[in-house]
């Protein structure tokens, strides 16, 4: 259904995707796994024809470079965060994208019902929560029942409950012969949705595992998702980098890979730098051979009061 052959994408001289070949049959579900900067999102953008690339990508037998519009007819895409016309009503948004997909007769009510948004058609997009916006993006992606779904870290900006509900919704959609290609940082998502996991590192495809055998060989026990105000993010990244961590920007905050015995250290560094953390989550990265540590990587830390824990 999707065939990627020797895909190369560089930004300046830096390779973002380096000679990646990957093939997905109908009904396959492949997770792109890797740290920030591994090339997951760039690969997805190449599949959508949003970026110029070297190599070849065929979707349903159609060359994306030569006939991107026809290839995208086969794809339903959900981005990390929906940048949308905020004043548009939900019904109108669905009708607009239905027309662009050549399905002017699509029923907004049926589309919304399919993703659990029934009764919200009259609302403006700005009135929707983050989770509801992602559901709207999913409803739009499913217009015309495309055979392929492409998801780019779709739960990155959702809270734990929103994430759980959204992944549940996606699970219902898999197994119906639809092909799924998605990028994720979260182990529980990969375990729930993927059949195979493609590990990327610095743009290169390291290997492809069956999901049943997949165990992230992480040198870090957890990833902290720190939610910070927009103007605090760059100072926080600088402070954490100076403290020996490798933070990266993501969605509404920053990600900090941490060893199990040092999960509180980033908070100390940020407190010393007088940077306030609004909220945080701990996403556990499980070793295949790991023994549970006391409290595990999923325990609520005591530092910020308004925190939540990923399960």
């Amino acid at each position: 259904m999707i065939t990627i052959t020797n895909l190369v994408k560089t930004f300046g001289r830096t390779p973002a995707v380096d000679d990646v070949s990957l093939s997905l049959d109908q009904g396959d579900a492949v997770a792109l796994w890797g740290s920030n900067g591994a090339g997951k999102t760039t690969l997805i953008r190449c599949v959508l024809g949003l970026l110029r690339y070297r190599g070849a990508i065929r979707v349903g037998g159609i060359d994306v470079r030569r006939n991107g519009k026809a290839a995208r007819m086969l794809i339903g895409y959900v981005p990390q965060e929906l940048g949308f016309y905020d004043e548009l009503r939900v019904d109108s948004a669905i009708c607009y994208f239905a027309r662009l997909k050549g399905i002017p007769s699509a029923s907004p009510a049926a589309s919304l019902q399919g993703v659990g948004l029934e009764g919200n058609g009259g609302k403006r997009v700005r009135e929707l929560s983050g989770g509801m916006k992602q559901r709207l993006a999913l409803a739009i992606a499913l217009l015309g029942d495309p055979p392929i779904l492409v998801l780019d870290e779709v739960t990155a900006s959702l809270d734990a409950l929103g994430r759980h509900e959204f992944v549940g919704l996606l699970r219902q959609l898999t197994g119906s012969g639809r092909t799924l290609l998605f990028a994720s940082h979260r182990l529980e998502e990969v375990r729930s949705l993927a059949r195979r996991v493609a590990r990327l590192e610095r743009g290169r495809l390291l290997r492809i595992d069956d999901c049943a055998c997949f165990a992230p060989d992480a040198q870090h026990a957890a990833v902290l998702h720190l939610h910070l105000s927009a103007d605090e993010r760059m100072p926080a990244i600088r402070a954490l980098a100076a403290g020996g961590f490798s933070p990266t920007l993501n969605g509404t905050g920053i990600l900090v890979p941490v060893a199990s015995e040092h999960k509180a250290a980033p908070f100390r560094i940020l407190a010393d730098a007088q940077i306030a953390v609004d909220n945080f989550e701990v996403d556990a990265v499980e070793h295949s051979s790991a023994t549970p540590e006391p409290g595990g990587g999923r325990r609520k830390s005591s530092t910020p009061p308004d925190s939540e824990v990923t399960q």
């Binding site: 024809g49 949003l50 110029r52 349903g60 037998g61 991107g68 016309y85 027309r99």
Partner: protein
Amino acid sequence: MSTAISVGDAFASRRPPSMASNTLCIARRELRDALKSRWFVLYTLAFVVLGLAVSFVSAAGTGGTGFSGFGRTTAGLVNLILLVVPLMALTAGAATIASDRERGMLAYLLSQPVSPVEVLLGKYIGLGASLLAAISLGLGACAVILSWRGGVSSPQAILWLAGLSFVLALGMLSVGIMISSLTRRASAAVSVAIFVWLTLVFVSDLALMAGAVALHLRIDELFALSLLNPLQVFKMWSLHAIDANLDVLGPAGLYAVEEYGRSLHAIFAVWLSAWIVLPLVVASVVLARKSPL
């Protein structure tokens, strides 16, 4: 892969929407958004109010006497159009693609079965239609006032002015969209557009005058240089179309009428058309090659 190909074949039977269909769909959305935009409403209101003021003052000053009265009104309206219409068109064009890129909407739109050219044309047609509405409203109101005060005896004159204003608006919209396609942030795009507007309205006139004095430009060189500024072309064309002479522009105007006569219409049309087409071509090339992110 045989399964994949057969599934692909099955879906290939559903063709993507045509270019015209997608372009019109985007144009309708753009038109609706533009008409709801408070900036657009403010510009249009300012245009109507100032246009009415010019019409009232001119008609009162001439005692409402026929076409020569309208000649004076024309000069006032032309100057008003030179200020308002390019500013409106440049800023509308500059904001459109850059703001969509900034909030991720451009990438999302292009992840649908839509091509960059369809996005560009859709936005251009939608914004062009909104500018046509603003110009029609502004000059329509002026025409009503002038007719009421007996200040205009030839409906042709106001139609010429409206038509040429629209052509000028389309040219400036093209330039605005080109700026937008080259810029990442909407605020930067609008700033560049305002700088271009200032240059075209004020600086180029001063530079032309300074150049004429300092470099002792010949009259034909002066005329050729003035053609480089689309606002000058609009001014010369509207005065020529309505009054059939360019005396008000001095020696360069006299030279143009004597030298080119009736072919002046064609010269002005080619220059303004170039201002419409060339920036749009540049924008479409940039949009097709540059990442929408």
